[in-house]
Symmetry: C2
């Protein structure tokens, strides 16, 4: 795999002098188009042998291009805010918005590779990460990102030459440390692992590009030209990144029974029972949240449900058992303009709770497979891939120790009508019914269908859905509290 990068590629000073001005002109034009014409994010990983000139290459690109929408991320040790959250959080928070270019030194690949080579972790350990990265990059590409992964290569001999050259020059001597010579010694250990990783994770939409890096001029030109070509190709490609529709194979069932119609909506609680149980479960929940075992965990609660199903009331009973300093509620409405220039899940990742904290989502990432699907706000291909992306997202949280609890509050169409009418009668402005509420109601069956698909595809052992019969508000609130208590007990 690295043979082609050990051929001694080099560019003469004269050629470089001719090539660079032309290339810069083109890079600047491409960058301008990227920002103006149809912005997409450009994610560039700069990886490879330590000492191959990763920093120099990006510095040169910053000088050649317009550096104002280029961001380079060193990604050294995670900060404590980053350590408290799932591993991918620190990359999500640095993702370039549409129109910008993000260079990642030390990308998501660095940690598991180092753990395998230096930390004694198995090949299986490494591979399980690779699988996740493939899915992550697939998602980024589907969201419109252009992804390029560079591996700057030096043979062991070439590395030795380069380190000696650097040491020999007074101006660069400081850059060579003992770590560099240690890594030189381990060159032979790294190469087979690197080859394995590159082979397994080079895809059409996120290819690895190996660049021989012994000659600075060749390296700079090659990386820059590759980026230029990729941006220009994407700019020229007027096709939408995702097809508007793909054939869906769905179960063609012969009766009307589904997860929602099968619920027993007559379940109810008397006011007295409700009061007693509310006190009991809130007390229990309060103790669980105060448990020492919870100090290095966190909780993500998702509340979805029909309009007027009582999400707000259920949330209020849950927080009734909590300390306001340790939770935050995120009502999900239309995305802000900063959210619109990022991949879909970005707006949820940004609210990832730290240790000992709880994030409560009043509506959530499931909007994509509910309202966006039914109302046609996104292409079919986009909501179809969302199931898998959501499962990955929740798995990533679960792996870090985040307890993910999801509630669907379900009421019957009749009960909803009663509540709508009540709301109209009360006249409180804050309960005003919008035309949208009535419109959603007209699509009852389509929403029901979407909910059933959602539960079927995203109720997992690590992040199960709880369907809550919510015609009785009392019953629903207690079921939510009880479920949450059980879940925390089993997790802590």
């Amino acid at each position: 795999m690295f043979e082609a990068a050990e051929l001694g590629h080099a560019i003469s000073k004269a050629d470089y002098k001719i090539e660079v001005p032309k290339l810069r002109e083109q890079l600047l034009d491409a960058q301008f188009e990227l920002g103006e014409k149809k912005p997409f994010p450009v994610v560039v990983i700069i990886s490879g042998i330590d000492g191959a000139g990763k920093g120099e290459t990006v510095n040169t690109l910053n000088f050649w291009m317009d550096p104002r929408n280029i961001h380079a991320h060193a990604m050294g040790d995670p900060s404590d805010e980053e350590q408290e959250r799932p591993a991918m959080w620190r990359f999500w928070r640095k993702l370039p918005p549409k129109g910008a270019i993000g260079f990642f030194f030390g990308s998501w690949y660095s940690h598991p590779m180092r753990q395998h080579i230096e930390g004694g972790k198995s090949r299986d350990y490494l591979d399980s990460y690779l699988e996740d990265f493939l899915r992550f990059e697939r998602m980024l590409a589907d969201e419109g990102a252009l992804i390029l992964k560079f591996w700057l290569h030096l043979s062991k001999d070439a590395l030795k030459d380069r380190l000696k050259d650097l040491e020999g020059d007074k101006a660069t001597k400081w850059r060579v440390t003992k770590t560099d010579w240690d890594r030189y010694e381990h060159h032979d250990d790294l190469m087979p692992v690197a080859e394995h990783v590159l082979r397994r994770t080079s895809t059409g939409h996120a290819p690895w590009i190996v660049v021989e890096s012994g000659d600075e001029k060749y390296r700079n030109l090659t990386v820059a030209k590759t980026i230029l070509k990729a941006i220009k190709a994407r700019l020229a490609d007027d096709a939408k990144p995702t097809p508007a529709s793909v054939p869906v194979v769905a179960l063609d069932q012969s009766d009307d029974v589904n997860l929602l119609t099968a619920l027993d909506y007559t379940k109810a609680l008397s006011k007295k029972d409700y009061k007693n149980q509310l006190e009991y479960y809130q007390g229990k929940l309060n103790k669980l949240f105060r448990s020492k075992k919870f100090h290095d965990r966190s909780v993500v609660l998702v509340f979805e449900g029909n309009d007027a199903a009582g999400k707000g009331g259920a949330i209020r009973r849950v927080i009734g058992a909590m300390d306001s300093r340790f939770y935050d509620i995120h009502p999900i409405a239309a995305p802000s303009d900063e959210e619109k220039v990022q991949p879909y899940l970005w707006r949820f990742w940004r609210h990832m709770p730290g240790q000992g904290k709880t994030a409560i989502f009043d509506r959530s990432w499931y909007g994509r497979v509910l309202v966006e699907r039914v109302e046609g706000y996104c292409a079919q291909a986009d909501w179809l891939r969302a199931y898998g992306e959501i499962n990955d997202f929740e798995e990533e949280m679960a792996r870090h120790g985040v307890i993910v609890c999801k509630f669907w509050l379900s009421i019957t169409a009749d009960e909803q009508l009663t509540r709508f009418n009540e709301r109209e009668a009360t006249g409180y402005k804050r309960f005003k019914l919008t035309d949208e509420d009535w419109r959603n109601r007209d699509k009852w069956d389509e929403y029901a269908h979407a909910v059933c698909d959602m539960v079927e595809r995203t109720s997992t052992e690590i992040a199960p859905w709880t369907l809550v019969e919510a015609n009785s508000k009392y019953y629903a609130r207690i079921k939510v509290l009880k479920t949450l208590c059980k879940r925390l007990e089993s997790e802590l």
Copy 2:
């Protein structure tokens, strides 16, 4: 000061039961109006005696109100990301946007008060902070925030009773720690300091409100009613928070000499001298940025100047000496919608660099006293107060060890015309001239006037302006590099 809060205020259970439902109704209505009618941020500090029930009060309010746009912030020890930045950064990042309510436990007052009482710091030390806080709150109020500062009070005896009560109940025993009893012992030390702080920092726009807290029901009702009344009063007040214009007393000078006309625009450099000096100063700058002394410092660079003065080119020469992993360039254009619902300076605070990092602003917070002033984008009162706010902002940075360097790149009107014409001739899209460029040019004198005012009012010893004669690009770039080198040398 605390006498009125030691009278044994209490509410009977019966009265509470009657009052609460009415109050909740009104709170919810006010909150709805706050979000819909004319959103402003509500900043609430919950301070006072430990054990007075700060957490309980906010929990109760969260239950009574719509908790979805209430955010409570514990503000415990700062994270490492927070420690790397000026002290107020952690409060800025938690400020509630317009329409939301933010509760701060442990506000900006906590740290200097504790340092004074427990850390042996002098009264002068404390007072210097108070002065800053007054200015900070003045700024928040001017930006439209409603600010309420509660001090939950308990007399020493009442505190003793409460701690004993809590200890006596199995359900609340865990809440009383040794720290609480230690603080009880120091009650007498705290009170005079608290009185001093409250007296010095209670203002019309950010008043302290002392609430007797021995009786939970009285405390909850009183805090809630006070908040309700304040929000309702502001909602009813249709006057603009700042007057559109205030009389400006300005120097009425009798000649045309000013800071800009006094510059010598014939200063220039030959290409050869430029190349030599560029190499020299970039090498020097590179060494300075790599200095160990820089590891716990950070740099903020501001580039302002006439259109086509060569800001971009100067920035590129500066970063030519830097490692892309340690700087970020922030081009400042129109604010995003998330920025629009925050105080003016929020969008710059969010880019505060961490340790060892540099933030480069291509245009900056000075937009307020330049383009916004000249084009009438903000009220006169707003840009007039901006000078002081900006000085405070930069002082806050300087105090933390951030090196703030500001450049005004100045060209003559003739030179600008030449460059505009050149740009039109090249036809590169990325250099396209907009109508705005020509419009700005028509207001040359007004801009010049604004620049002179700006330099006069914001060029300080801790954050001086450097006026750069930029008719010669070579000369300008070298002057920027040279100035920056000198500044870093003197600071490190």
